[in-house]
Symmetry: none
DNA sequence: GCGCGCGCTGAACATCATCTGAACAGCTCT
DNA sequence: AGAGCTGTTCAGATGATGTTCAGCGCGCGC
């Protein structure tokens, strides 16, 4: 974890650095707003501790510049004054947390932990096979860069297949996962859907294994390894 | 946005509810730890305000149970006492922010905004998609540079959608986050609102994904690459 | 090579989700 | 109480979507 401290009071800055150092952060320091802004704009920090009263460029402005430049690291704001209106301004400029001096080192660390913990919780939701990519949250499918419109059931089937890639999936397995309990067992609905899917995403992306079911494959990788 | 208040003092609870109501949240209330835990375990909240001193089950325990059950909504902790050791315990139990009584309503709102904003992966209080920009603080919406007047619920829906941009949002998800506990589940209110929204911000900005729900998109970016 | 069945496909059909306009109800402000 | 705004309900229209069906191609076992 890499942290930036922007604080003009040398004593407090030193104290902050000690605390963060001790907690295992790699710490950079800045003594005024300009320097702080530059560092934050340049280096990839995991957390920033920012004083509001700063020479050369005040804290809220620094924060606004970062945010409008797309920087999204968590920022914890410090101030000596306990004025709620300033806190509100800080929050709306994009701060994630706030601490009033004097504070207890343990509390600063706890807040930083909370911030970095939450910032880490971003996961992707698109699965790819070859140049076919399925965005499971957005319910969208791309072939290359081209958006393909699928109906609800088509998407469910493709989604299930791509979650079990390179495996043969039987018709009944599909039926059981697409529909609830009772569904007419002999019906060729699945075949119709697979047919429509093939038309939309490309014929060679879904292989049919006669007597067993279907398999989703990467057509480009087919030439490479062919066993039987 | 839907919020839960867990607070045993009836006066303070009423005051909190008023503040959040007025800010456009759909608010549920709980008077003790057990009830609060149950609601948080059952309903999908976007933010929780949790008192630490509670009858039946104390706040830290409630929070710990939620977190170990995988609940990841942002939690803001309240306490009358200014004891930092309790704050630290709260943070390490999984709290995202902390406020000491007495507090200024504006500050509570600012902190909640910061929490929900970050939980959705955004850093500033105005969120844009294409030339549509939503100021979550001022509750104002612009198409290009033209101000659009939205009613309270229209704004709530658009606000929730833009916090979860490029994702399909089901009708029930919308209902659960726009309204509090008791609401007639089958009603086409949402459809009516979406229709009115489309009339105000442009037809092609809200796609309907049949059988799944709606998706807020940038109509200009139809051919462009995908997001993660 | 031959026939059997499995799987494919196009079109027709039925259904269901969603949209839309309008009316109604509730609240606030004067 | 009345006017205006907002949220909710309702019913009919509409079109996309799921399902069925019948005919055909073709691989597979014999």
């Amino acid at each position: 974890m890499r942290a930036l401290i922007v604080e003009d009071d040398p004593d407090l800055r030193r104290q902050l650095k000690d605390v963060l150092d001790h907690a295992g952060y790699a710490v950079d320091e800045a003594g005024d707003g300009e320097e702080g802004w530059f560092l934050g704009d340049t280096e990839p920090y995991d957390a920033v501790v920012l004083d509001l009263g700063l020479p050369r460029l005040d804290g809220v402005s620094v924060l606004e510049r970062w945010r409008s430049a797309g920087k999204d690291f968590p920022v914890l704001i410090l101030t000596a004054r306990d004025r709620w209106s300033e806190k509100v301004a800080g929050f709306d400029a994009g701060a994630d947390d706030y601490l009033t001096k004097p504070f207890h080192p343990e509390e600063l660390l706890a807040r930083l932990r909370a911030l970095t913990r939450r910032a880490a919780g971003h996961t992707t939701s698109t699965i790819e096979i070859g140049n076919l990519s399925v965005d499971t949250r957005g319910a969208r499918v791309f072939v290359g860069d081209k958006l393909v419109k699928l109906t609800s059931h088509e998407f469910r089937i493709l989604s299930y297949m791509i979650h079990h890639r390179e495996r043969v999936i039987s018709r009944t397995e599909l039926v059981e996962h697409i529909y609830d309990q009772d569904f007419d067992r002999d019906s060729n609905t699945i075949e119709v859907f697979v047919g429509r899917l093939r038309k939309k995403i490309g014929q060679d992306r879904i292989e049919t294994v006669r007597g067993l079911g279907y398999r989703l494959v990467d057509p480009a990788a087919n030439e490479r390894a062919r066993a039987g």
